[in-house]
Every structure is written in C-alpha cells, then in structure tokens.
C-alpha cells in the first residue's frame, strides 16, 4: 500500500517535483510550496496522511523501491518504470487509495479516533462497574472532551452503547473484512486493551508503513461515512461536529460558517466581518464543498438547481462561463458554483426532474 502510494505520487508529479516533495506532502508540511504541489498535481487527497513518517525510513524505503526497479532517476527527477506502472495499474490495486481526503481531514482524524476510542473505553468500563481504569490516551484536550460528553450522558449509557454499536456496525459492514477487523482490534473495552500498531502489523503480516496508512485510511472513510450519513449516524456526528470547521482551507471561511450557523444572513455577515459580498460568496461555496448537509436551496431554488444540473450534464463541462451563457445568463456565477459543488460532492438529493 505504501509502495502504491509513493508510485502514485511519482506518477502524478510527472518528473516535475523531487522525491522530498512527496515526503513533505505525506507528512503534511504546511508550506505554500507543498500546498501548491498538492493542488496542481491533483494529489491533495494525500496531504498529511502519514505525519509520523520518519525521514530516514522514508529514504530507505525509496531506495529499496528503486532497487526493485519500480522507478528510475535520482531524487530530483524520478519516473516510473514499466514495472512500476504495471504495479500501479493492475486491477486489484485500483481504487485502494481513492478514499483518502488528506487536505481536508488530516487535522481531524487523530481527534476523531482518539475521542471515539477513549469514549468507548469509558462507557464500557462504567457500564461494567469498573470505575478505576487508566485512560488509554493521556492527551488533556481529548480527555476533557470525552469527560464532558460523558457527564452529559452518564444516565444514558445503555442507549449510547447500543447507538454507537449500531452506527459503527453500519460503517464497518461497508469495509473490507480486514479493515473492519483492524478497526475493532484497535478498540479498548472493559476487558480488553486494544492492539498497538506494531501488534496489528505482526498479526496480519503487514509492514509497519502499511499499517500506518491503513489505519489512517479507515479514519478517512469513517469521517466521510459520518458526513454523508448524518441522519443515520447522529451519535458519531457528535464526535466530529466541532472538527468540521477545521475542514476549511481558510480560517476566514470557517468564521463565516460559524456566523451562518448562528443564524446570520449573508448581508449581516458581510457587514459584521467588513468583507465584500463576493468574498462571502467564495466562503459559502467552500462551505458547500465541506458541509454535506448544507442546504443550497435557500440560495438557488430546487427547480433552478435541476435546470443547472441538466445543463452541466448536457454540456459535460464545468466551465462557468460556458454554463452561464448556455443558461441565457439567468443565473449568477455564485449560483452555478454552488450547484457545481453539490454535483461534485454528490450530495444533491433532489433528483433531476
């Protein structure tokens, strides 16, 4: 898996970026160069998905891949060999990495995972009347968050256990057998302490790198699951609610989102924040990409969305100007961009007629 990931990066970089750039991308270096790489070469989904990757181990791995003849060239200009291309494109490897959403999720996964793990440890122990257990995570922020959630719900533990079980079961059922097993093995309950990454690697005969990536990928899938099934997974949603704001690429859009959620309209936000209306519109488009439950029909009526969607399908284009002209300039760029957003995120539930 790690091999595939690196091959895919080399492939997409098209000899234009160095191997170090791959390292910076995977570890999520927040520099404008790395962010630009992520966008321009279409691999922003890999941004920050392997933060603990050690530079020396990365270099060693790269050298081994070169020795195996999977790519050629030096650190500045590497390209895949035939063998590398074949490996990347054989059927069973296809799609393995497509569920990463690095740029958006890389700061959420740790919190989401650890909150969930610690909460499950807490409620299963309390439910079995074990009041003195040692928390599996010693991060203060996470402990405080879990504690608050626990205090609010301590009289409802049965309901929570059952609810989380049902919601997570639904999620796990959609995964590969191995991924679901690994997810469950990592959990700590009242009788069993979860397995370390090292132990997972040994148990399933995986490399250390593959375990790291797999666990991260499962977390990305979990967050996507929660975001697309908010109705069916109300309890899990609580674990990421406040993290969603971190999804925004710009902090400014996050602020607009906060105000929007508190019930302010566009004009009010524009005046509160001393920002031009166009900027607010940019933010709202960003929000539509991020919040899968964001309702755009307050800005574009349902029939209008349908009309724009049809036009997108018919012309097979995402070019704003073309779309706008084809729709006889009836809609603003802002409205078209919003529809493009729900089209892209596949969250439009209103159909096409």
């Amino acid at each position: 898996m790690f091999t595939l990931l690196i091959l895919d990066c080399i492939d997409k970089f098209k000899c234009e970026r160095s191997l170090s750039a791959i390292y910076h991308l995977l570890t999520g270096k927040r520099s404008s160069q790395t962010l630009q790489d992520a966008y321009s070469y279409g691999i922003s989904n890999y941004f920050g998905i392997y933060k603990t990757l050690d530079r020396i181990k990365f270099n060693r791995y790269i050298d081994q891949m070169r020795e195996k003849g999977l790519f050629e060239g030096d650190d500045e200009e590497a390209s895949l060999t035939r063998k590398g291309i074949e490996l990347l494109h054989i059927e069973k490897n296809k799609g393995q990495l497509k569920d990463f959403n690095g740029l958006k999720y890389n700061r959420m996964t740790y919190y989401c995972n650890q909150r969930l793990t610690l909460f499950i440890q807490t409620i299963t122990n309390i439910e079995t009347e074990n009041y003195s257990f040692i928390a599996i995570n010693d991060n203060k922020d996470i402990q405080t968050w879990v504690k608050n959630l626990f205090i609010k719900n301590k009289n409802d533990l049965q309901k929570w256990l059952e609810g989380l079980y049902t919601e997570l079961y639904m999620f796990l059922n959609g995964l590969d057998e191995l991924d679901a097993t690994i997810f469950v093995d990592r959990l700590t309950g009242s009788k069993n302490i979860g397995l370390s990454k090292e132990q997972i690697a040994k148990k399933y005969n995986l490399t250390h790198h593959d375990v790291e990536i797999k666990i991260e990928l499962i977390s990305h899938k979990l967050i996507t699951f929660i975001r697309t099934n908010k109705q069916e997974a109300p309890l899990l949603s609580i674990f990421i609610e406040d993290l969603i704001e971190q999804l925004f690429i710009t902090d400014s859009a996050a602020k607009t989102y906060q105000l929007l959620r508190r019930g302010y309209d566009n004009e009010q936000i524009s005046s509160i924040r001393h920002l031009k209306m166009n900027t607010i519109h940019d933010h709202i488009v960003e929000i539509a990409y991020v919040d899968y439950n964001f309702d755009i029909t307050e800005i574009v009526a349902k029939e209008e969305v349908v009309e724009i969607l049809r036009s997108i399908r018919k012309l097979k284009t995402r070019k704003l100007k073309v779309l706008k002209e084809n729709l006889n300039n009836k809609y603003s760029f802002f409205q078209i961009r919003l529809v493009l957003a729900v089209d892209q995120t596949k969250t439009w539930k209103g159909g096409l007629d």
Binding site: I120, S132, D138, K140, Y165, L168, S196
Partner: protein, 513 residues
Amino acid sequence: MDYLEGKLSRFFGFSTFRNGQKEIITDILKGSSVIGILPTGSGKSLCYQLPAHLLDGSVLVVSPLISLMIDQVKQLKATGFKEVIAINSFLSMSNRNYALTNLASYKLIYVSPEMLQNKFFLRYLDKVKVSLFVVDEAHCISQWGHEFRPDYLKLNHAINQIGNPTVLALSATATPEVQIDIEQQLGLKEVKKHIHPMDRDNIAFMVQRFTQYQEKIAYVVDVLKKFNVPTMIYFSSRNTTEKAAEELSVNLPNHRIAYYHGGMEQEDRILIQQQFMNNQLDVICCTSAFGMGINKKDIRLVVHFHLPTQVESFIQEVGRAGRDGQASASLVLVAPNDDQLPKRLIENELPDYQTVNDIIDFLSAKENDNFSIKSETKMLDYFNLNETQWRFLLFQFEKHGMIKESRIMEEFNDWQMLKNQLYNLIVTRNTYKQKKLTELLKWADNEHVCRRKLLFSSFQETLSQPLYGCCDVCDFSFLTWEPPIVERNISIPPKGWEETFKQLMLQGDYRED
C-alpha cells in the same frame, strides 16, 4: 480501629497499614522530618498521600520522573482523589495556567526538581501553604547514588525559601553513605529515620552463565516453556529488546510477548503497558524505561538479560516481582563481554575531560558571550554533548562561581583551576561508578557465597528467612520452583470482528443487566 486506620480505610479502602507506613505517617503528623527507606512495592507513596488528606495546606512532592508523576496522578484520580496535579512541561499552556492560579486548591502537588528553580513557579508557590515537602527517590540527591541528579542538590534552597516545612525523604534503595548524603544535602535536623530491610522473603535468586547471546535466548525459552507466568525481561539496548522479543515469540508460540522501550510512540507505549497490567501479555521485553510506576502485583519472574550499572538499580528492578507476596524469582543471565555496554553507559554519563577542556576554553575566550550559556541546543550540537552532561557542567560552573543566573561572571578568572577541579571530579565519579559496576558483576560472578547475603550486606545487617527458596548457591533451582500458575484460556477460538465488536460494546448476549 484507631484514628489513622480509620482514615486509611476511609480514603484508600485498606484496613491495615503495611510495614513502616504508620510509623512514618505518625512522625510526619507530629511535625518531624523523616528519611524513609522502604523497599519497592511496599507502598511508599501512601506515606504522603494519606497525610495529604489529613494535613492543613498542601503536600508538595518532588519527583524525578514525569511519567511516574503522571501515572500516580492518574491512579489517584481513578480512586476519586481529585485535588491532585502534576506540574510539568507536558501540561498544555491553558491547563498549566489554570493549575498555577489555583495552586492552593490542590492537596497534592507533584513537581519536577527543575520546576523548583523556576522563579515564576516559586512566586505561585508563595501563595500556597506547604505543610509537607516530599523528596521522592531521594537517593538522586547523592553524587554516589545510581541516579544522581544535579537539580536535586538545589532542593535544600527551595526548602528554605518555602519556609522550612516538614520534609519527608523517600527512597527504595540507599546505602548508609547515601543516607548520610540525603540528610546533609537536604539540611535536615533532628530527622527521624525509618530504614526497612530491602530483602524480600518471597523472591529467590538465580544466576546463569553462558558463552553467547543465543544460549541465553534458548535458556529463557526453556524456563518460560516450563513456567508461563507474568515475566519481565530487562535489556540494556532498545535494539536487543526488539530483536529478542521477536526471537522469543517465534520459539514460544503459546506466549503473548511484546516489547517496550523509550523510543516507541506514546500511544503504543500506553497500550502495551496496559495490556501487560491487564494480563493480555505474559512476557514483556523492556529497557529500564519500563516499570516506573508499574503496579502489577503478580509478576513472578524478573529476568536480567543484561545487568544494569549497579546493585541499587538491580535491587529496584528485581523488586517489581512478587508484590503479592507469592513465590517469585530473579534470573540473571551473564555472558562474557556483557560488561562492555554498561561501561560505555557510565563513560557517557559525564563529559570526558577533553570536552570539558574545550568548553572552558571556548567560554573563557568569549567571556561575555552569555548567549552560548543560554543556548542549550547550540552547545549540545557544537560539543556533541547529551543533556545530562550539559546539566552537570552548568551545575558545576555555577557551583564554582563561574556563572550566576545564566550569566558568565566577569570577574571570574580561575579557568585553569576550574579545569583541574572538574577533571578530578569526573575521574572520581567515573572510578566510583566503575567500582559500583564491578561490585554488581562480582556479585553475579560469585558461585560460593549466598547471593542474598552478598547482595544485601551493604544495606542491612540481618536477612529475613526466605519463604520459597533462597538462591542457586543455597537451595534454589527451577526444577523445584512452584510459582502459582494462573490457568488461562489459551485457545480462544478466533471470532470474526462482528462477534468481537458485539462483545466489546456489551451488546446482545454480552449485555450487562
């Protein structure tokens, strides 16, 4: 039930004190300072945790190990004692600010010795009524001790500043010379001493000699095949820890084996430690990083695949076995050249003379370059020092009047004398430590004198009668060893994730009603 027993039962749920606890607590409550030498696992921390409930004001505990402090705070909070805090650099800014401004509201405050030199912290501490000042692992104050920490030498000063509260100095291992050091360095007057014997009557000793590594592994495999009991195996390097854990796992498919060392990610460290506590692991291969604050009662066997650098550390590590009082054993494996690694460890603890020479030349040539004193990383890099070595030097520079409050004193000019003094000091200390190492190696080499007698002779005059065998020189052998074996379900049929998950979440048949 008298007063103290009543409180003990109320706050900790125990009905009786363990050996030594009550006498120490009684003296403290009377306001006398105490030196308490109690063996590992005898409940040292209760000697200040109970007074924390009873005394007016706060109890301040100085502890050298952050992980140890955090573990204790966790355990106390788990038992419902909430007014405890460990002030350390791992606390987040906001948590730390909150804790500091509310410092007086805590009954029990754990701090690192470095913290007591922090002026800001001392200012906060000023507002707190410290009724008891506890020095945990007090042997760290002695330059002869196996874990000497220069910062401990400044505790005397801190005690004065706080207004000379009652002091409790605790240690599990302290030779008579170290005890005198503790008393003098802390400036204790009319101190009550409670020295308890360090030997444990339920631990038997065994030393085995081999010619090489593979033989050691084979021997451990044999022993563990016969006794699948909770076991710790100590190694002196991280690499060997991992390597041996792997080899043992291959040879002992029915044992659950893992390794633990300071180089692992924090998350995995907690998981492995908790698995061992929770009996999900049988054998843990570890470095000395593991075990501090470990409170597992039924460890039956402590193996030293490598020996530590002195008798005191060895006794401490062995003392993790058999805290439940049941039959336990210490097994030491010796091979030629085993002394090389500890020798190097000792040499690396202090800077060598050439380095000292270079640093003093550097500083004297740039007398006013105070920046270099403050920029620790720069000095570490430039002179290839480790942190302990640099701390040692800083302390010595201060002691000899070359620096004061992180500034080089302009009038200082005894550079050559400083060099000579440091040279002598380093030579003396290294010689002493090599002597300590030799002492331990000799102990292991001996084949004729009772091991127990030899091991404890410098700490105490009499030995208790061993309950389950003494040592391999006297009467002990694994052939006749009968440790309690806890039956466990070895072959749990592998369940799919669905069943495991249902069980974990207490659903269906696993529901708690």
